[in-house]
């Protein structure tokens, strides 16, 4: 079973410490949600897991399938089975969704077998159409430039499409609900649920509880000031929905200051 283990993670951006000793273990087949107020380090966690060069790990470990993730480049992490659905997907003008995805899939095949000739184009098209149908996307989408001029909803759907095509073992969804109307939220969530299962571990990062109405977590963690301060079941999210974050702040910021 693939396991992502984060131990006592400390992360800084330009000498400012953002994550201050975060620990979390995610197994394949589990859905975890991390919730927390803005500026608490949720996206820093997501970017650090993927290996963004602006984030420096000063202490702690990330282990995935027994491998030290911190030694891997972002592309190696991806090929190992880690996926990040970006909060703000980046536009790549001039590169079509299809060309991009085919390059990504072929990179996986070539890493496994340097002699690989790449996925046959017909197989690729068939696969892509199936995934687009699942996400109720027009097939013309494959010919558009990646994230270039996409609406908020299209961007998030394109992220889930990539997730479906790349078949990760651990997926991190960074504020995937932001900027989505209720219909898009439902379609994206259905996509994630269709992919969830015993082979996929999911980490949902969200500010709001509403996404968790669609993607049911097994575990909910509350993050504050660079650490996980509370962990519980799905009911913890509902509690937050009703009570807001103030009680968490009161409970932990006071102890931090004490």
């Amino acid at each position: 079973m693939s396991q992502l283990e984060i131990k006592n993670l400390h992360v800084s951006i330009e000498d400012k410490e953002i994550l201050k000793g975060l620990s979390l273990t995610i197994n394949q087949g589990e859905i975890h949600a991390i919730m927390g107020p803005n500026g608490t380090g949720k996206s820093t966690l997501a970017y650090t897991l993927m290996g963004h060069p602006n984030y420096t790990v000063t202490e702690g470990e990330i282990i995935f399938k027994g491998q030290n993730v911190l030694e891997l480049e972002p592309d190696e992490r991806s090929r190992a089975g880690i996926f990040l659905a970006f909060q703000y997907p980046v536009a790549i003008p001039g590169v079509t969704v299809a060309n991009f995805l085919r390059t990504a899939l072929n990179a996986r095949r070539r890493a496994a077998n340097p002699e690989d000739k790449g996925m046959p184009i017909l197989d690729f098209r068939k696969m892509l159409k199936e995934k687009m149908d699942m996400l109720k996307m027009d097939h013309a989408f494959a010919g558009r430039y990646l994230n270039d001029g996409f609406s908020g909803g299209e961007k998030k759907r394109a992220e889930i499409l990539q997730m479906a095509a790349l078949k990760p073992e651990i997926a991190i969804l960074d504020e995937t609900d932001s900027g989505l109307d209720i219909d898009a939220l439902r379609i994206v969530s259905e996509g994630v649920n269709a992919l969830a299962g015993p082979d996929l571990g999911v980490l949902v990062i969200t500010h709001y509880q509403r996404l968790l109405n669609y993607i049911k977590p097994n575990f909910v963690h509350i993050m504050l000031d660079g650490r996980i301060v509370e962990s519980g079941g799905a009911d913890l999210a509902l509690h937050l929905e009703e009570q807001g974050y103030d009680w968490v702040r009161e409970k932990y910021e006071e102890t931090a200051e004490a």
Partner: protein, 443 residues
């Protein structure tokens, strides 16, 4: 036209011009163009070597051009030089071509579909044209590009041993594209070429010309002229590819004259040479004529490519659309200097020019200088110039999907060029350039 501002010289530099060429009036080849060539030689003698106080040469330094070392290839010189590689001879425009010409140092090979011959299409090398079509050749030569246009134009006009005459008679539609290759191997050689393309009223043709040579140690040069005439309601699609070896100094003067209702689709691709200075002018001379100029270039190492373009709207209701895109690696440098000129009375013209550059290394440099000179009052002219770098975030995004750094860079660069590739309807040409991108990125 307004007078260009004069550049005043405030200090003199020793050795500020390149050495002179060793050629004399006796270097002029014999044949039916002798008189034209002698006149061009007279013009040549009046030009001194360009120096970087000349406005057009301010950003392109040719002081190291070893002009005095160059020789003109002897008859049959190609027999002792590297042969033209097969991939250059393959059609770039679909399954087959209607004709192919290979120009070699001191020789040439010509092949033309007999059906086109029977329609009166002429597609031959300039030596054959001098023998077989002297009247037509003399009528066309020097009408669009004149020896007085510049030192290298005069030199090529006087000495061009190699060249092409493409003539498409009135209302003849050539369905299969024509293809020519100028293969210029060898060191210490000066290759000269003169291309003459005349598409008569109502005719149409697609023509691909490629100049190439292997990389060699030493120096070589090429000076070329391209003269294009597009008649009334005629249509020409002209693709020029330049993949000279890295030892080649490349100079060209090119101009297209488009008559009423004519249409020119002009595509440039440049990946080779040590240094290139190219002048390409589009003269929209007839009412309602249209021209599109699309350029791509990719430099690396210490290459220096300088494209000087001019879109001249000389008649009303003319449309021009220029897009040049370039990527630069290593310590290479590119210059694009463009001008849209609208003549008095050329009302309702629509002119567009844009130059976009992607600088991949800190030491590479792209200069982009757009210009407008508008002497009519009811026109629409727009321009844009950008120089950008390879950004971190798109690369991280691609890498986060398992794409290794080099492939991620290649995708971004290919994406950058895509708007130009969309303008090129030939898979073969696109593939050639994509291969060049791959080679240069992995070099």
């Amino acid at each position: 036209m307004q007078e260009k501002p004069k550049v005043s010289v405030t200090r003199t530099r020793r050795d500020s011009a390149a050495k002179e060429f060793p050629f004399t009036v006796d270097s002029i080849p014999a044949g039916g163009l002798k008189d034209v060539r002698v006149r061009a030689w007279e013009a040549f003698k009046k030009f001194s070597m360009p120096i970087n106080t000349d406005e057009a040469w301010r950003r392109t330094d040719i002081r190291l051009l070893p002009a005095s070392d160059f020789k003109i290839p002897q008859e049959g010189a190609f027999e002792d030089l590297p042969v033209v590689p097969d991939y250059l001879l393959r059609p770039l425009t679909g399954e087959q071509h209607g004709g192919q010409i290979t120009l070699l140092p001191g020789g040439s090979r010509v092949d033309l579909d007999p059906v086109l011959v029977s329609k009166g299409v002429i597609f031959t090398d300039i030596r054959t044209a001098e023998r077989e079509y002297p009247e037509l050749l003399n009528k066309l030569i020097g009408t669009v590009v004149k020896p007085e246009d510049g030192k290298f134009a005069a030199l090529a006009s006087a000495l061009a041993q190699n060249g092409i005459l493409l003539y498409v008679p009135k209302n003849v539609v050539v369905e299969t594209p024509l293809h020519s290759i100028l293969w210029g191997p060898g060191v210490d050689l000066a290759h000269f070429s003169h291309l003459i393309v005349c598409v008569e009223d109502g005719a149409s043709v697609t023509y691909v010309h490629e100049a190439a040579s292997p990389d060699e140690i030493g120096h070589a040069m090429h000076a070329g002229i391209v003269e294009i005439y597009v008649g009334k309601d005629a249509s020409l699609r002209f693709v020029e590819l330049q993949s000279w070896g890295r030892h080649v100094w490349n100079f060209s003067h090119e101009r297209a004259h488009v008559e009423r209702g004519g249409n020119l689709d002009w595509i440039f691709g440049a990946v080779g040479s040590r240094l290139t200075k190219n002048f390409s002018d589009l003269d929209l001379a007839g009412e309602g004529s249209q021209g599109r100029m699309s350029g791509f270039y990719f430099t690396d190492g210490t290459q220096h490519l300088d494209h000087d373009t001019q879109q001249n709207h000389l008649a009303p209701h003319t449309t021009s659309d220029l897009l040049f895109k370039g990527a630069l690696k290593g310590k290479s440098r590119s210059v694009w200097q463009g001008m849209i000129y609208v003549a008095p009375g050329a009302q309702k013209t629509d002119g567009y020019q844009a130059n976009r550059n992607l600088v991949l290394d800190d030491q590479a440099r792209a200069d982009s200088i757009p210009g407008l000179e508008i002497l009519a009052d009811d026109v629409r002219c727009t321009h844009g110039a950008t120089v950008g770098k390879l950004e971190k975030e798109p690369l991280f995004y691609l890498k986060s999907r398992g794409i290794p750094q080099t492939d991620a860079e290649r995708l971004v660069v290919e994406g950058f060029f895509d708007p130009i590739m969309q303008r090129i309807p030939f898979e073969g040409v696109r593939e050639r350039f994509q291969q060049a991108i791959k080679d240069k990125l992995s070099a």
